[in-house]
Subunit: 100 residues, 2 copies
């Protein structure tokens, strides 16, 4: 099966930035223990006023592995951040340059 | 200077998917010739109904390199896609697992 990329863009209420990073760390600790986890990185916008100030990009061995991990994350009850909006979606690579 | 990551999420009108991929390829050909370009990849959502059906992730040597390239792209007049919405933003890495 093909590895998949989870891209999750966060709309972060201004005063909730630190809280969102802490929530991400708690979720990462749950996810990295799940089968099929490969890697993850959290990116922060250079412009603090950006619509999507934080973006998480993670690699998983398959969609099924990710779905199971997402379920485990729900059960882990990591902290919720008031007013935080996010858009998690699974992707596959369509084009790449340079092609490896 | 620290390398930066350009993350651009596309809201793709349903019937404009192929056209958007072709536009991305034309833009990639301009950008990859610009100083400071490192790499780029285009990701497509597994769920064709996804809000952000296409996401471009590119690496650049610095913000200044990217700004100059973006200017060159505007002058190159690559094809426009009717109704396409996109949100390009520069990011830096905040957290990474596993840490390399």
């Amino acid at each position: 099966q093909q590895t998949v990329t989870l891209i999750n863009v966060f709309e972060v209420p201004e005063e909730r930035y630190e809280e969102t990073v802490a929530m991400w760390e708690a979720a990462r600790d749950v996810m990295k223990a799940q089968p099929g986890y490969i890697a993850t990185s959290l990116h922060t916008a250079l412009d603090e006023g950006a619509t999507f100030r934080l973006v998480n990009i993670a690699e998983w061995e398959s969609p099924a592995h990710f779905q199971a991990a997402a379920k485990a994350l729900k059960e882990a009850e990591t902290p919720k951040v008031e007013g935080l909006k996010f858009h998690p979606m699974l992707y596959r690579m369509l084009r790449q340059d340079p092609e490896n």
